[in-house]
């Protein structure tokens, strides 16, 4: 991913000039249909008026955003006050996603390092083992997790049987439950890019550092981590972004009190209780937030690559 498009074949060569336009056409069509159109649609819907029983009335309105940010409303008689409920849900989502990213990193890095340092013919087997659970639908896996974690589930049985806890731990319907769900769902998204980066890492650099008096922790922080930074950033993005918008883990493992943005949005498009413009507005706000985070990370990576020449 580090500047792969740079140099290589000369795409600006005169010979390709007439064909360039239509050769790129499929790309633009696909990007337009799968990226641009849904976002534009969402943006339009967020400024429409809600229809009860779902759907929209084609009439401009900022009600959705108004409802998200303000109590009593900008257009009411009373002075508007900030509506904290939704902002709190956003805040909870951000820190749950951040925590999930950190845990995935702490477990994912040693895992990826372990796999990348196996003999070449064994690595594929390890990667395969990591991905096996993900052949099963996420919903089913999350429901299974609920069974494992519940008060009378196997985890609590084990903890009580070994005498670690006397009373069953309540994990379901807590923030911890959501966190375990997020961590479990997105761990491979951290392991795989990290593995790809570490596998390409030139281990003789570690030898050279060790030769130059570096103890093990310095080799990790000064040599290995900077070298695999692109994989690290990719892994963090791949865990953070879907965690932020996740709704299965919060719904099934967090319950009503531990709502996240994903669930909030999901609810707006379900059945008669839904509010399409509000769901669209919440999506737009989430999208803006994610883009801001990505822009910061992208800028950092660009600086890194510029430095590496």
């Amino acid at each position: 991913m580090a500047g792969g498009a740079a140099s290589g074949g000369n795409a600006t060569s005169e010979a390709y000039a007439p064909a360039r336009g239509w050769l790129l056409l499929p790309t633009w069509v696909v990007l337009g249909i799968v990226v641009l159109a849904p976002i534009v649609l969402m943006l339009i819907y967020s400024f429409l008026t809600k229809e009860f029983r779902g759907g929209v009335i084609w009439e401009f309105s900022v009600d959705a955003y108004d409802q998200f940010f303000f109590d009593r409303g900008l257009f009411g008689d009373d002075a508007p006050t900030i509506q904290w409920a939704y902002i709190q849900i956003f805040w909870r989502s951000i820190w749950q996603a951040t925590l999930a990213t950190i845990f995935c990193l702490l477990i994912g890095f040693p895992t990826a390092y372990f796999i990348a340092t196996r003999p070449a013919n064994q690595r594929t087997i390890w990667v395969f083992l990591i991905t096996i659970p993900y052949w099963v639908n996420l919903l089913i896996r999350t429901v299974s997790m609920r069974f494992i974690l519940r008060d009378q589930g196997p985890l609590n049985d084990l903890l009580q049987w070994t005498g670690i806890v006397a009373e069953p731990l309540t994990i379901i319907n807590t923030n911890l439950g959501v966190q375990i769900g997020l961590f479990y769902s997105y761990l491979p998204f951290m392991v795989l890019p990290l593995y790809a980066a570490i596998e390409r890492y030139n281990f003789s650099l570690s030898e050279a550092a060790s030769d130059l008096y570096a103890p093990r922790h310095k080799i990790l922080t000064r040599i290995v981590l900077p070298a695999v930074k692109p994989g690290l950033i990719a892994g963090c993005i791949l865990v953070f972004v879907p965690s932020l918008g996740s709704f299965l883990a919060p719904d099934l493992l967090g319950g009503a009190r531990n709502f996240m943005i994903g669930s909030l949005i999901d609810e707006q498009f379900r059945g008669s209780a839904g509010n399409w413009p509000f769901g669209a507005a919440a999506s737009m706000i989430l999208l803006t937030l994610v883009l801001l985070v990505l822009m910061v990370l992208a800028r950092q990576q660009a600086r890194l690559e510029k430095g590496a020449g």
């Binding site: 550092a209 060790s210 030769d211 130059l212 590496a308």
Partner: protein, 363 residues
């Protein structure tokens, strides 16, 4: 070692096994302080393994390694005052040239400012000061090689290990780096242990050479010693160009061994311990120790027919058929124009050798 100097690295009966494979079979070598020492051998002979054991990247299966009388075989690499110039340089790609060179100093506990100052001095020594703030990927192969050298020298190690550091450079650059390395070694007074498979490189640079093959040291000595007195067939064949003849020893008397090589050819040479009358052994004669003439000019001469003359710039090599054994090569210097007589293919000539040119080899 001419005079008594302290021993920098003492390798005592070191064995290395990888599973069933024995890479080193009881190798013992003592390397003197301030010596330019070379481990020479073909790939797979165990020379790099030995170097990596001195650096600490491989553990020792059996035996001991001493650095100035301190046993180091159990120390991790970062606890050994020994630095390495790696074959692929292994420069840190995310750091600048200056940071690369200063890394070892910083890890030794010097402040960042002090590390940078000393790294700057090191870069001056290898004439790369103007590239201090570039990344290694922005340098040419030769420049990267110098950075690797500066980085390994900066912490002032007691011994510097060099693992085929010049193998990636083109010939001209390699020749100039050979001289420069030798020069830096003399200037810094650091013991250098150099690994190479290039015998010419070894002969050019080394104070002493250990010729290795199949996990053993075949011969240890100065360049001249090894070239002129190869101990066995492997050394004679690996170092320089040589004619190897299969002979039987007919008799040994008056300090001379008389051998015949079939086809009516007979030679006498100095006997060696371990070769007795009746033995079938090999005899080595360097091509440049021979000269051709139409009449026998020395006591020791063989008859042959010229097959081909090959002009290789500095020399002319004449290939001869002795009627027995493989083709025979004679080399004459091209600078000797006045006296140089070139025989045409098909001509019958005498191949003359001075006393001591032919050597019997054990095995």
């Amino acid at each position: 070692m001419t005079k008594q100097r302290p021993i920098a690295i003492d390798i005592q009966k070191v064995v290395k096994r990888f599973g069933d494979f024995t890479a080193l079979k009881e190798v013992s070598v003592s390397i003197g302080d301030n010596e330019f020492f070379t481990l020479l051998g073909p790939s797979g002979c165990g020379k790099t393994t030995l170097l990596r054991m001195i650096a600490g990247f491989e553990d020792v299966t059996a035996g001991a390694i001493f650095l100035y009388d301190q046993e180091i075989a159990k120390l991790p690499p970062n606890k050994r005052p020994i630095n390495t110039v790696f074959q692929n340089y292994a420069l840190f790609p995310t750091m600048s040239v200056l940071e690369n060179v200063g890394f070892g100093l910083e890890m030794q506990g010097k402040s960042r400012a002090e590390a940078r100052r000393q790294a700057g001095e090191m870069l001056e020594l290898v004439q790369l000061s103007q590239f201090a703030h570039r990344k290694p990927s922005q340098l040419s192969g030769g420049q990267q090689q110098r950075v690797a050298l500066a980085r390994a020298l900066a912490p002032k190690p007691r011994v510097l290990l060099l693992d085929e550091p010049l193998s990636a450079l083109d010939m001209k650059l390699r020749k100039s780096m050979q001289l420069e390395l030798k020069h830096i070694q003399r200037e810094t007074g650091i013991t250098f242990i150099f690994v190479t498979h290039d015998q010419e490189e070894a002969l050019t640079m080394s104070d002493r050479i250990a010729v290795m093959s199949a996990g053993e040291v075949q011969q240890l000595g100065t360049a001249r010693d090894i070239y002129e007195n190869p101990r066995n067939m492997f050394v004679a064949d690996f170092i320089g160009d040589t004619n190897l003849l299969e002979v039987s020893v007919d008799k040994i008397e008056n300090g001379r061994a008389t051998c015949h090589l079939g086809g009516g050819h007979e030679l006498t040479c100095d006997p060696v311990a371990g070769v007795d009358t009746g033995a079938r052994v090999h005899l080595s004669v360097r091509p440049e120790r021979l000269f051709l003439s139409s009449e026998p000019e020395e006591v020791e001469s063989l008859r042959g027919r010229v097959v081909e003359n090959i002009f290789i710039g500095t020399d002319i090599t004449t290939i001869l058929d002795l009627g027995v054994g493989p083709q025979f090569r004679v080399r004459a210097s091209n600078s000797d124009r006045g006296n140089l007589r070139v025989f045409e293919p098909g001509q019958n000539v005498f191949v003359n050798m001075e006393r001591g040119a032919a050597r019997l080899l054990v095995d």
